[in-house]
């Protein structure tokens, strides 16, 4: 049995999802020879640390009761530097302006030779090259399937399963909130404002939905795909972005009558990175409804390969983190 000691930095919805999945999959992981020992959990108010392994069920209950797991005043970087472990699961909130705590955590992890698995887009959007170089210099594994499309496999599919294929482009719906809003606007013949309000009430859209509806979230995901799959060196500033705030129910209806739906489509190739509402033929592989995400990879040898799945949600995102974890340690 191989024991992997890890920290979970960021204990919001995704971090808690990871803890739940680790509890849920404990027996399965042991059956493939892996014992995952969480030695520290950090949230915005502090940390809980136990070199013998924290009690995940207890931490989840405490978080729900008190709003924090903090027992000690440790930050993520302090935990990385002072607690002995191999893997940092980085699930702090995305900050695309500075990279936030996530960037500091990842750099500190590589400085101390730790592996990183993350769902945090911010650092990868801003400092992809720097992070890859730091990981390489440290000999660390660095995986981030959960940053694009939640449970929907895109990065590992393109880089591993489709290895050897020259990829021409990837296009798809990478933001579930926008897809939900456009789907409901068409179904209900309702205004953007009304459906946005409904999405906020249901928790599908954030209180400040700008990041989603202006296409910024999709653009960040394209930056990660451009760097990780197409080998480019780009940031958010290299993306042409148009959001969905101007879409009207009448436009959706007219398009539908002519056999099209309007979707916020992100498109990346070696030549261009672009986010905009586009007309998609009804029943086209990219015509997925509700909060679903979809990505169509145009390959040299295999033609178009399309995957669809839940782009968000704590358990779904934790599923991508789990698959990265097994990819790193399962074969060792």
């Amino acid at each position: 049995m191989k024991t992997v000691r890890c920290s979970i930095l960021g204990f919001g919805a995704i971090g808690q999802g990871v803890a739940e999945v680790l509890l849920m999959k404990k027996e399965y992981l042991e059956s493939i020879g892996l014992e995952i020992l969480v030695v520290a959990i950090v949230d915005s108010r502090g940390a809980t640390v136990n070199p013998e392994g924290v009690d995940l069920a207890d931490c989840l209950a405490r978080k729900r009761m008190k709003g924090t797991v903090a027992i000690e005043k440790f930050t993520g970087v302090e935990v990385i530097k002072s607690v002995d472990h191999e893997l940092v699961i980085e699930t702090t909130p995305t900050n695309i302006v500075t990279g936030g705590a996530g960037l500091q955590n990842m750099l500190a992890a590589f400085e101390t030779g730790k592996d990183v698995i993350t769902s945090n887009k911010g650092p990868l959007t801003l400092k992809y090259r720097e992070l890859m170089e730091a990981a390489k210099a440290a000999g660390s594994s660095f995986r981030f399937e959960a940053t694009v499309g939640g449970s929907m496999p895109v990065i590992n599919l393109a880089n591993e399963v489709l290895a050897g294929n020259r990829l021409k482009s990837i296009k798809g719906i990478l933001n579930g909130t926008c897809n939900y809003i456009l789907t409901r606007m068409l179904e209900e013949r309702a205004s953007y404002k009304d459906i946005l309000a409904e999405s906020m009430e249901l928790g599908i859209a954030e209180t400040d939905p700008t990041y989603d509806v202006d296409g910024i979230d999709t653009a960040c995901k394209l930056v990660i795909l451009a760097n990780a799959i197409f080998g480019l060196d780009v940031t958010y500033r290299d993306v042409e972005v148009t959001g969905i705030t101007k879409i009207t129910p009448e436009a959706l209806e007219m398009a539908y009558e002519r056999g099209h739906v309007i979707k916020l489509i992100g498109e990346v190739s070696r030549e261009r990175i672009h986010v905009a509402p586009r007309l998609v033929p009804i029943n086209h592989p990219l015509d997925v409804r509700g909060t679903l995400n979809v990505a169509s990879i145009d390959t040299e040898l295999a033609g178009e390969i399309t995957v669809t799945g839940k782009g968000a949600g704590p358990i779904e995102t934790a599923s991508a983190i789990l698959s990265d974890l097994i990819a790193v340690y399962g074969s060792q």
Binding site: I247, T248, E250, A251, A255, A276, L286
Partner: protein
């Protein structure tokens, strides 16, 4: 201009040469020839469809020359547009001058706005239009879209393009 022409040839050797010779004589550019040899008309002739580019004033002379060569000309028609797409425009489509927007495309000569659906839900609300643009060829269609893109940017209109078009 691009013209399509349906002609009928007698099923004897040398007929195709007689059909093509007037085109060459009047410097028409032959784009396609569809020779339906397996089909026969009730007159036992072979139908052939031609698409050619020529000056409008040459069409009559070409037709006369073909008929002089004993070739029956069944139909002559303008065959300009081969590419077609739908584009959605959202914004103050009407207040910023929908006619100007259409004119910018129509005056190119290689593309035209062929259909327009318009919705104006309220005076202060954004209107939406769905237009169909037809163009002579793919490159012309792209040129027309580039023009529309510039017009849309100037009028602050959101232009929603089909997914298979270079946006």
């Amino acid at each position: 201009m691009r013209v399509s022409m349906d002609i009928e040839l007698k099923d004897v050797p040398g007929q195709m040469l007689l059909a093509l010779q007037p085109l060459s004589e009047f410097k028409a550019n032959l784009i396609t020839v569809l020779h339906h040899h397996q089909k026969r008309t009730p007159r036992k002739t072979v139908p052939v469809q031609l698409v050619l580019e020529t000056k409008p004033e040459s069409i009559g002379a070409i037709k006369a020359k073909l008929e002089e060569n004993g070739i029956r000309v069944v139909r002559v028609g303008e065959h300009r547009f081969r590419e077609s797409i739908n584009v959605v425009l959202i914004g103050h489509v009407v207040h910023t001058g929908i006619q100007d927007t259409i004119d910018e495309i129509d005056k190119t000569g290689f593309a035209e706005v062929m259909d327009l659906s318009l919705s104006m839900p309220g005076i202060n609300l954004l209107s939406s239009a769905l237009i169909r643009i037809d163009a002579v060829g793919k490159e012309d269609l792209q040129k027309a879209l580039d023009i529309l893109k510039k017009v849309s940017a100037k009028k602050d209109l959101l232009m929603v393009l089909p997914i298979d078009i270079q946006a």
